[in-house]
């Protein structure tokens, strides 16, 4: 069935196929006339069977037969015997059609439909399936149907598991069998069936099983996919956990109306400028969750009612699940020193996308200090421009003892109690790591390296709360660098992984993070102004990651990297200043995550590749449903449809209309001609500076 080269048809084959087409056309014409006239005589029904035996893909004919069956079943003289004979006929037709084409969707579906009538013996189906699956053991239609049959006849998962085992022993290059195995095991775990209570024991046996396949033939991919599933089962804790928050537990946050603050007692890490009077609280979970609202998360503070808080998911898609959620407190404009307590998951309702309940209620608190807004200074900041140039930065001294970084760590340790109960996960991963090091000592294989990198990464992530460092990050980075050279076709994938590991490494310790923290110093006044700027420039990043460690960042320099996408950046709710200068962003739609950053005032996207390509690949590559949402929103906006320039730049309109930018740099992109700039000014009336030029 598989791996057979296609041969060019011989002349006699062509003749045969055209004769067949001729016959088929004649049959079809006659069939349609029966169908349209609702003729269900024996002769007419037999004609449709003939048609289906030649062409099982004829959906209309299958539907016709369904109608005919209904017709017969509704006849007044219908008795159990005649029903059985009608349905048996259907099964026979399907079987003949399947002989013609194993992979006919219509035929398989018709069979299910007939069986769902409940008059046919289901035992027979298993025998038929055995025959089909022997002929083509990997046919996913047959496997799908098998799941249906097994369920209908209440065949135990254990029996089916044994069947997958037999099939795998016959030939282990069988994605369908491995896949069915994972489906069955998931069901058995969920049921807590006998012998499957101890997930760890079963998983260790499965690892042992898959090793046989991987070591026997490391080039065969079907085994690797199953291994990936096992790894996922090992690493992923069932119930979601809170990974970090902003503000962190025990932190003091100073809310200022002015960007400059001299001689403040507060660490520049914890001072937040807000001109909107809104104070964000950000929760970052270890996996996407839904159901975050004012009843599952309660915020106790002196100045806002919990019920008024609206929790918003932050994800690229508009789904109601996300890893990161945000709510905004309204800060009174008076002097304030208040403690805020946030309790997460004390009442049920936070559920992971995999259906598991958040089961580790946690609580964190922080203090908010508000400096009254100074109207005058906000006027000053209008004229001020921020320029993220090298000479404007000063290395941030390590004088601060209690930084945001520490408090986010505390939060993770608080959740560590689940991990201590899961020593087997460590042991399993350690064993796998040993196993794959051995494999790589035997053969140089790409997928082996990738798996080792994944294993090491997972091990580091799991041990981080205890070790407080990523022990293997250097090795993982090396493996991905190797893979980029070994397997150029998947370069971008490895590069992305490499970027994320690099970011995790940078954010893993206070020391390494502080090396990237700088203070902005205005070149004119040379006053130390504004919050800490995290500079992750020149790291050749192609993707952003480690967001749970970066929730506190207000100024971010990502210039001189290789970013094509900034997916996930929406988690960084405090961002007010962002430089993406000299990256590889290719389209305006790649900026989609920024729409959710309400504090963003200064954006530098100069020297990217926006407009280089007429086709926007982001829209096809990314999971963002942007392409669907764009049109509908535009239609509602009538002010726009009248303006030709805006219609022609509807993407720019869609992206930029929600921005509250003061300052934008877009020079060095193909798209950024004078005409486009004038459109931008129109979309963003609040913009004060464009490409370094003050606007009127």
């Amino acid at each position: 069935m598989h791996g057979r080269p296609r041969k060019a048809p011989k002349p006699e084959d062509e003749a045969a196929s055209s004769a067949k087409a001729q016959k088929l056309r004649a049959l079809q014409t006659q069939f349609f006339s029966f169908h349209h006239n609702k003729i269900y005589t024996k002769e007419a029904v037999e004609l449709s069977a003939k048609l289906l035996e030649i062409n099982p893909e004829s959906y209309t004919a299958w539907n016709y037969r369904k109608l005919a069956v209904e017709h017969y079943l509704n006849l007044p003289d219908c008795n159990p015997d005649s029903i059985k004979s009608v349905l048996d006929d259907e099964l026979r037709v399907v079987e003949n059609a399947l002989r013609q084409n194993f992979k006919s969707y219509g035929a398989w579906h018709h069979r299910k439909w007939v069986l769902s009538k409940g008059h046919s013996s289901i035992d027979n189906e298993l025998r038929l399936l055995d025959k089909f699956q022997k002929a083509d053991s990997r046919n996913f239609h047959a496997w799908n149907y098998r799941r249906f049959v097994a369920e209908s006849m209440k065949r135990s998962e254990q029996d089916e598991l044994k069947y997958t085992e037999d099939m795998i022993y016959t030939n282990f290059s069988n994605y369908s069998a491995w896949h069915n195995r994972s489906v069955l095991l998931s069901a058995l775990f969920e049921k807590k069936a006998e012998g499957f209570l101890l997930k760890e024991k079963v998983l260790l046996e499965e690892y042992e099983f898959i090793h046989q396949a991987i070591f026997t033939d490391p080039d065969d991919q079907s085994g690797w996919f199953y291994h990936l599933w096992l790894l996922d089962q090992t690493v992923t804790t069932d119930s979601p956990l809170l990974a970090s928050s902003w503000p962190g537990h025990g932190s003091d946050v100073l809310l200022v109306g002015d960007r400059c603050y001299n001689g403040s007692a507060f660490s520049p890490f914890s001072a937040l400028h807000s001109d909107s009077g809104l104070f964000p609280i950000v929760l970052s979970f270890n996996q996407p969750v839904g159901g975050v609202n004012s009843s599952t998360v309660t915020v106790e503070c002196g100045f806002n009612k919990n019920e008024d808080l609206f929790w918003k998911p932050l994800s690229a898609s508009n789904s109601q699940t996300a890893r990161v959620w945000v709510a905004h407190l309204k800060i009174p404009s008076s002097d304030l020193h208040s403690t805020v307590e946030v309790s997460v998951g004390h009442s049920k309702g936070i559920i992971s996308t995999r259906g598991f309940e958040y089961s580790h209620p946690s609580m964190f608190s922080f203090k908010v200090h508000v400096q009254p807004m100074e109207r005058d200074s906000s006027q000053v900041s209008v004229a001020e421009s921020i320029s993220l140039r090298e000479e404007n930065f000063k290395v941030y001294g390590t004088q601060s003892e209690e930084s945001i970084i520490d408090s986010s760590d505390q939060l993770i340790i608080k959740n560590g109690h689940e991990t201590t109960a899961s020593n087997w996960r460590f042991e399993a991963l350690a064993k796998e790591i040993g196993c794959f090091r051995e494999l790589l000592s035997l053969v140089d294989c790409k997928i082996g390296k990738l798996t080792l990198a994944r294993l090491l990464k997972a091990y580091d992530a799991m041990s981080y709360p205890f070790a407080n460092k990523l022990v293997h990050s250097e090795e993982v980075l090396e493996l991905y660098s190797d893979l980029m050279k070994l397997d150029p076709t998947h370069y971008q994938f490895y590069k992305d992984e490499h970027s994320i590991v690099l970011l995790q490494k940078v954010t893993s310790s206070k020391e390494s993070l502080l090396q990237h923290c700088f203070q902005y110093k205005d070149s004119v006044s040379s006053a130390i102004c504004g919050p800490i700027c995290l500079r992750l420039n020149n790291l050749s990043l192609s993707r952003m990651g480690a967001f749970e460690k970066l929730l506190w960042v207000q100024m971010l320099d990502l210039s001189h990297n290789e970013l094509q996408s900034i997916e996930g950046l929406e988690a960084m709710q405090l961002l007010s200043c962002l430089s993406l200068r000299n990256n590889k962003l290719r389209s305006l739609t790649a900026l989609e995550p920024l729409r959710k950053l309400k504090s963003l005032r200064i954006l530098d996207i100069s020297y990217n590749q926006i407009g280089d390509q007429s086709i926007d690949t982001t829209r096809y590559v990314c999971s963002s449903p942007l392409s669907h949402s764009v049109g509908s929103e535009l239609n509602r906006d009538e002010t726009v449809t009248s303006d030709v320039a805006l219609i022609n730049n509807w993407e720019a309109f869609y992206i930029f209309k929600d921005f509250n930018l003061n300052q934008l740099d877009i020079v060095g992109n193909t798209i950024a001609d004078e005409k486009f700039k004038s459109v931008l000014v129109k979309i963003m009336p609040k913009l004060k500076q464009l490409d370094g030029k003050l606007l009127d």
Partner: protein
């Protein structure tokens, strides 16, 4: 065989070719010659087809073996000159079997049903699904006369009584429980290397230097551990002699030959959809093969006369050239060519040398150097050696049973589903190459003692017991060890022996004849070498003729479907 019915006269009396004996090589030649439109007379003194390749009922086997074991019968009368123009050279029989030893532990049961057994005289033997014999069967349409079943597995035995399945394919390596992960990886990579080499992939080509070096050296170079080397050499490449001891090894495999063997094995697995392993075995026994070629020959006009002994060779008085044979009936039949089975030898008149023209044409193929003997054993049991599997091969690599064992011992278990024995019974064929009868007995007994329970209350059991005693301390130790704690004894009883036949068979042809003689069954597991030799004999007698021309495919009786019926 003594009270043969009155011999019918044969008509016509002149043929292109006379073939005497219906063993496999003779039958193939008869069929090939008939296909080449030669008129052929095929005679056999026996009342059955197959000669030394036949499958016989239990009661007939002893008499057949012993009829070929006596010392050469002295010429009945000095060769006398006929009144006409021919000289008569009398045939003598050559002893081919020795140390024949039968033991019956269940006389009633077996005697009553003797005819329900089809015991191979030249066992153990199987077909590789892709070997030359299967190709020949398919090419000639002879497969239509036979049905096959798959031999399900190959095991390697050890001196503890364990039978380890041979990881001979990707699926088998995956499934194997005895190999470690690293070993699995090494073995599969070796298989892939061989496959790549055979497929002509440039980057995995095995160098010419390696191809000419001993296979065992190449396996060492590939870093294969001893266990895997043993699997490859003896259970896949089917080497006979200890490849790592050049002192005793008479068939040192070159890498090239080893790879060819692997290729054959690999091509055999999965060739037929309903054959799970690499081997096939014919229903009703191996004797069917010779018979099938005889039927093939008969279809093409070959004349068959069984129960027809021949007594003498007729040679031209003046030239000494072959003219024909004299049958036991006294009739003289003439032909241009003659093929004899290896039982016959021609007694030259004392003091005379072979007629000159024939001396020059000494057939090269019969000039086999001394290859010693092969010890064979046939055992009947009521239980399978391994539960849940009935037809399988077991190989005991050299020195796996005792230190002095220098050759592989092979065992084939065939169950009643192949119609070779009573339902519920199993026939075991054992063979090993040896230098002499004693050594051969020791080898066969070592396996029997390892795997079977030999009852003590038998009339001829003493022989087995005394042989056992001779095997020496090494084996005694091993067996006692295995009986005390070996895995095979922990759960199940060893099958009990019901009947056994042990004999040694000559491999050498002994004397170079001046008439074309076909070879005896060899020590191999399949028929490849025999078919090669047979082809050479055919070329020798008919250098102008094609060996089964392709047109024979158009034979309406051959449907070309070779799939074994299971």
């Amino acid at each position: 065989m003594d009270d043969v019915p009155p011999y019918p006269p044969i008509d016509p009396t002149t043929f292109d070719l006379i073939v005497i004996g219906t063993g496999l090589p003779e039958s193939i030649i008869a069929a090939a010659a008939s296909s080449a439109s030669k008129s052929v007379l095929h005679l056999d003194p026996n009342p059955f087809y197959g000669s030394h390749f036949s499958s016989l009922p239990l009661a007939d086997l002893p008499s057949f073996l012993s009829s070929h074991s006596s010392s050469p019968s002295p010429p009945r009368s000095p060769s006398s000159d006929d009144p006409n123009e021919f000289s008569l050279l009398e045939f003598a029989t050559r002893p081919l079997y020795s140390s024949i030893d039968f033991s019956t532990f269940s006389p009633n049961l077996l005697d009553q049903h003797s005819r329900r057994f089809n015991l191979d005289v030249a066992g153990p033997r199987v077909f590789f699904c892709a070997d030359k014999s299967i190709e020949l069967l398919l090419r000639t349409g002879t497969n239509q006369y036979m049905e096959f079943k798959s031999v399900d597995a190959t095991f390697v035995g050890d001196n503890k009584g364990n039978l380890w399945s041979v990881p001979d394919s990707r699926a088998a390596i995956f499934k194997d429980k005895s190999l470690g992960l690293v070993e699995k990886n090494k073995l599969m990579r070796f298989f892939k290397l061989v496959q790549g080499h055979l497929a002509g992939e440039q980057d995995v080509k095995i160098s010419e230097e390696d191809l000419q070096s001993p296979f065992v050296d190449f396996l060492n170079k590939m870093g294969l551990p001893p266990k895997i080397k043993s699997f490859i050499l003896y259970a896949i490449a089917m080497a006979d002699y200890d490849q790592e001891d050049t002192g005793v090894c008479r068939d040192l495999l070159k890498t090239k030959d080893g790879i060819d063997q692997l290729a054959l094995y690999n091509a055999s697995i999965g060739r037929f959809q309903n054959a799970s392993g690499a081997f096939l075995y014919p229903i009703y026994g191996q004797g069917e093969l010779s018979q099938a070629f005889c039927r093939r020959a008969a279809v093409k006009g070959c004349l068959y006369v069984l129960r027809m002994p021949v007594t003498a060779l007729l040679v031209d008085k003046d030239t000494g050239c072959y003219k024909g044979v004299r049958l036991a009936s006294g009739q003289d039949i003439f032909s241009q060519k003659l093929i004899l089975d290896p039982t016959f030898k021609v007694t030259l008149p004392l003091g005379s040398s072979p007629p000159l023209p024939l001396k020059e044409k000494l057939p090269f193929f019969s000039l086999k150097d001394d290859k010693g003997k092969i010890a064979r054993g046939i055992c009947i049991t009521k239980a399978s050696l391994k539960p849940d599997i009935s037809n399988f091969l077991v190989v005991y690599p050299p020195r796996s049973l005792f230190p002095e064992q220098v050759t592989s011992i092979r065992l084939l278990q065939i169950a009643s589903n192949l119609a070779v024995c009573l339902p519920g019974m199993f026939v075991l064929y054992i063979s090993a190459l040896c230098n002499d009868d004693d050594q051969g007995k020791k080898l066969i007994h070592a396996v029997m003692n390892m795997l079977l329970t030999v009852p003590l209350d038998s009339e001829s059991n003493a022989a087995v017991q005394s042989e056992t005693a001779e095997i020496g301390c090494a084996v005694q130790d091993e067996t006692s060890e295995s009986s005390s704690g070996g895995p095979s004894d922990s759960g199940e009883e060893k099958p009990t022996l019901l009947w056994s036949a042990l004999y040694s068979q000559e491999l050498t042809l002994g004397q170079v004849d001046f008439i074309c003689s076909t070879p005896m069954p060899d020590g191999k597991l399949n028929y490849n070498d025999l078919i090669d030799t047979t082809f050479k004999i055919f070329q020798e007698i008919y250098p102008e003729e094609e060996f089964f021309p392709e047109t024979s495919l158009e034979n309406p009786e051959g449907d070309g479907d070779a799939s074994p019926e299971t």
